[in-house]
Symmetry: D2
Subunit: 420 residues, 4 copies
């Protein structure tokens, strides 16, 4: 008997399937994991509900969990990111129930969340803590079924930690974002490439020889700075943390306050996590034609309301470019409406980046199933061994071998660490 | 009285105008030139016919020539590259007659060429020598009107040189492609960025950590190698010229024959100007999933017929990607059907690159008008002073000042060169 | 009355003074600190004994402590690194008692250590925990005088942590090596530059186009890889940690086991902290002429005894290069006798790197004086504020300003972190 | 019977021999050439006189010529660069007569030049045109013996071209400096590495994070800029040629006039070929502690007399560093007395660079012997085939293979070039 589901149109399944297969090619870690899961079936008999962006990469995570023996259902963590063809393919080609329709209204969204919990999961998999919230607020009767959960995002983790701090969290959750194989790679390499990709798609401007200002020198912004330099730009970094600022200097970048950088900039891209990093007084001193974009959290990094108020005219000469003409004639170009430019004008993280992120999800679910009973109702980091194993899988998938310690070397290291 | 023209739809003019204005922002050299032309009117009274790709950048060249006083008409050098909205805007917003409709048939194409010559030009501006050919072959009666011409492409120049060698060329032509401000910049920086842009748009694959093979180490391929490295790839170069190969080695790249490089490659991009650089015996040894693309002349660099013959199945998982499945199960991905990937999957050269190229066109036309009578019926390089002046304009437009020799330094240099 | 001392020759003082002043120019953080210490005298009345390498940089640390009001004496932490002219200048130009003579024997070494403790310090400053050891083992009567200590090296910290774990440590110690302004900078930038400097001084071989193998991808080895690439080498990284290996891949380096890398290498440099990383079976497969060096801890990283045993002849064609001829005719070149190549063949860390390290020492001493009474007898990290302040001093010294959070931004960040 | 010679001390031969062997290891092209010359003896019976710097690299050129069958004698082109141990080894180990003593006076210098011509050469090999000059001015009776000559330096070539222009040159000369395998490699890679090497040896200052100004963007200065960036500097370029300036901008460097760059600089290095590039008005605006050096021709690039005049005090804190204290207290540091810093403070070009340069010398001598009778009394470039062959030898010596054109590709290229 076929399970229930709610997707837009099953006729889209064929197209969705090709996209899922394309993504799988770029997800070698998930592929390796599927090989192992096929033999070991480490989630045999577990009921698992996921609330994630319904994309071709997520589809492959779903397939991996299915291969591991899990009875898995999926709902959307964001009504806008659902790929309807992928949802259709999951249902009809892979028999994984999905509740997600792109652009669904709020009522449908919650109906779908509830459908995912009607599955009576033992493990939850969240991207924003929505399943966990709903379970704790409205469906606490189900809590005894739950062994534990996993959470993809920083935002979700903050919410869960607040709950744990008050003793309100009723089962353990693993914070996937903390894994080195996640944040060291998707922020630096994923955001780096896709941000420049978004900017070039939006503008088709030659980067070489341009002054490119990056706000921040955290992992994301350092990825952006590295790639802008790699495309020939002269990069300026702004920071508030003197240590990071100093690293930027030692890496050969110019560092200065934004009000000195802005008048020189051909491009400014903010990735700080804070608001109004590019503010009214910066617009006032920018060069004519400066391209402003955001690659941080949310679209608050750029003070768009101030720009709107300053403008005497606004037009869209290209998709993803709004030109704001100021009273003095200068034009400021806002890319992608100030939303994350790699999502707005390009395609977000490449599959290879999601591969490691989702491998952490899958391995964390397996770990939770095996060890959840012994964990406290806290937020846990991904165990170091999982991180190492994922890195190892990834290297193998690239055909790369590395050294191992000889017994003699191991002894030496240990003795030295013991100080003898 | 309005002049004649033949474009698709004048209603497209408004959209075309914005695109022309956007491009002008990125064409500061043409802008500077327009300022000067406005004062000096160096082409006053000259009749000029251009046969060029009808794009927003060409539109700005046309405006510059108009500002210089030229009576200018424009026809398309390629039926496929015409931007109909730009053509419409040229006619209705700038009163420049255009004969070009995207996708026009061969008969119309020649009718348009003839219309451009009905203008009875004194100077021709070619991108492939079509106007010059037609004049010599079918409209030689007009030859006495002609002072000279300019030619944009290498292909055209080869044809013209062959004519000149046989004494068949009846007026002087300046080869714009030879200018340093053209070939040093569009090949290296333009092709470099736009090739990677095309590959990323086609595949959305993370470049960092991938093995990227570039065939060739000429200006184009060195631009590609530089940008692939700048995006985190491990780059291998193949060459047939030992000197260029050695430069690639000294620049830190690995160099090896294609049959050693192909089995390691995640990406192979050819930019050599020769045929079958990526051939049947290379497909036979590639890794599963290898992405093959071309950024050289024409689509002969990749032996596509061989690939077609080897494939047991072919499908298109993404736009601009054809997957060829071979009998042994491996998949080879051909990007952009083997055509220039920066045109097929991205937007070709950024405007800033065309800016310098077209500035050479405009300045060469001015030079031809002033000096054509004294030139032989040969192919000439762009005069060094024009190259220098364009570079100077470009630097000024970027707000960059440079040093000048003091009289003392000039004396020293001269005395030293004289060996005294 | 002049204090006691034991240095080689006071006549060397003039020369030593110039070297101290040269170093001070490159130690802007220490200079800034001296300005502040001059006003605030935060160590007024404190007796301080230091056991450090007696170099021109250490001399400036001593001057800073003196300016802060400390009554400071200095003994050598290593009999070989003492710069006799600097020792003389400290005594005669700056009136800081020093007990150190280059090449002194073990008896003198201990006599000097005891002299430094005869000073009856309140705070100790160690580079290898020798003062702390002597105090605990032989001079425990003095322990009540001690407020606390600081320790420069990882080796010392390991020893101290072992003592603390057993409850044997009788006063608190700050581990200076943990400071970000120390290990992020001296390992990456200091070791990176000085290692390549040492290799080039030893060999004068052109790095561009060579295959350069770096063992390890920790902070030191990553600095070496970065600089080798910056000099045009094609860099291969070997690792045992899959995560670091993966980072190296994503940074565009080739990664493979040493037994695959060794046969390709023109240079191999090890910086892992482990022994026999370059071992007998690697020598057996190296190319003729391969240059082997060490930039890690101690000279155990290269299995020199094995190399000695394999060699049929040994000679020294240049200073710091030993050529070992093997039975099959191949020559292996060992640089700097396998000792840290940046010390053996170059001058160790540049002063700018020691500047931040010693600023941590000085600030930690001040912190210890102010807070030591409230600390447990444990090993402490350098307080985050000190790290930040040193980075800030350093930026100021370079004339670099950075942004500060607006109140609005601070509020936003806090609210977000609180999850509201 | 032993030939004549004049060297300092034959007892130095053993040490000289090791240095010659070391250099030979790094001169694979000369080694390959020796193998071929051994079989083919292309200079059998030719008398050849060389006037070159007497270094270990030159010694290997001499051995190669000897192997080719030449009867070769050697005199010094510069009295200061002679390595006396190498001279001794050439005489006693290799039986090549040498007339050169380090520091010899002018009379001895000319006596040695004459001794080299007493050898009655058929071919001359010059580094500054001294043999050619002497032959034309004082020993014209010998001119009929001469088939032709080779010349290493630009300075020499300028002198020879002036002679040729006046019809005064009496035999053909090949200008070795024009070869791509010479100037593309020694200027860019050789000067690049050795200049930074010289600066670091002189100062031991950390380059990372420093502002490094390079005057010029020719081959030498571009090598310097590339290496300074590779060591982590923030590089500014100054230029007088707008085209080169534009290339520097597109390569991501900042470009500005020297009077804007000087106040920001931690380092300034000039490599322009002109005088007073770093002048009085630049010293006036430099930061305290700025390190000024020269890597161009001669020591005129820096206006040292002006600096001397401005200084109130001068001292030498380190070898190769002169500190000039100005009236306002600022210190300007002049490195290596303004002479070429890579020679003054380091060891000049690595042997690998001289390898290709001297391979051009040897092959040009062979070419001259075979073809000199058919050449005019002009200055010739190195034939393209020699350039290609040397590059091929070099690649082979590195174990690097490259592709060759298939017949089909060759046909395609030719047909295309013919425009058919």
């Amino acid at each position: 008997m076929k399970k229930e589901f709610d997707v837009k149109d099953l006729n889209l399944a064929e197209q969705g399937r090709w996209r899922i297969e394309w993504a799988l090619k770029e997800m070698p870690v998930i592929r390796s994991m599927m090989d192992r899961f096929h033999k070991e079936r480490p989630l045999d008999g577990v009921k698992l509900s996921g609330c994630l962006h319904i994309t071709s990469e997520t589809a492959n995570l779903a397939r991996a969990l299915q291969t591991a023996g899990a009875d898995f259902v999926l709902t959307a963590s964001n009504p806008l990111s659902t790929q309807d063809d992928v949802a259709a393919a999951l249902v009809s080609a892979f028999e994984i129930p999905v509740y997600a329709i792109k652009g669904e209204d709020t009522a449908t969204y919650y109906q779908h969340l509830n459908a995912a919990l009607d599955h009576r999961p033992n493990i939850t998999m969240d991207d924003g803590a929505d399943l966990v919230s709903l379970l704790h607020k409205e469906r606490s009767a189900q809590l005894p079924d739950i062994i534990g959960g996993t959470e993809e995002t920083t935002t979700g983790v903050i919410r869960l930690r607040a709950m744990a701090a008050k003793g309100a969290l009723k089962f353990p959750v693993i914070a996937v974002n903390d894994a080195d194989t996640k944040h060291l790679f998707d922020n630096r390499y994923g955001t780096g490439q896709s941000t420049l990709d978004g900017i070039i798609r939006a503008t088709n401007i030659l980067i070489a020889g341009k002054v490119f200002v990056v706000a921040g020198y955290g992992w994301c912004s350092r990825g952006i700075a590295m790639r802008a330099r790699g495309l020939g730009a002269n990069v300026i970094v702004t920071e508030i943390d003197p240590l990071k600022a100093l690293e930027a200097v030692m890496d050969g970048f110019r560092v200065m306050p934004m009000n000195e950088a802005a008048p020189q900039a051909d491009f400014i891209c903010s990735a700080t996590g804070d608001k109004n990093v590019i503010d009214k007084h910066h617009f006032e001193i920018m060069k004519d034609g400066c391209c402003v974009s955001n690659s941080g959290h949310f679209n608050v990094e750029i003070n768009i309301p101030a720009l709107e108020a300053m403008a005497v005219e606004k037009r869209q000469p290209r998709a993803f470019v709004d030109e704001y003409q100021l009273a003095d004639g200068r034009i400021i170009r806002l890319l992608g409406e100030g939303r994350l430019i790699n999502l707005a004008a390009a395609e977000g993280h490449p599959a290879a980046v999601m591969d490691m992120s989702f491998a952490n999800q899958a391995m964390s679910a397996v770990y939770m199933f095996a060890n959840g009973k012994n964990l406290d109702n806290q937020v846990y980091s991904v165990p170091k061994e999982i991180d190492q194993e994922i890195a190892r899988f990834k290297l193998e998938s690239m055909g790369i071998k590395i050294d191992t310690l000889t017994p003699e070397q191991e002894t030496y290291l240990n003795s030295w660490e013991e100080g003898t």
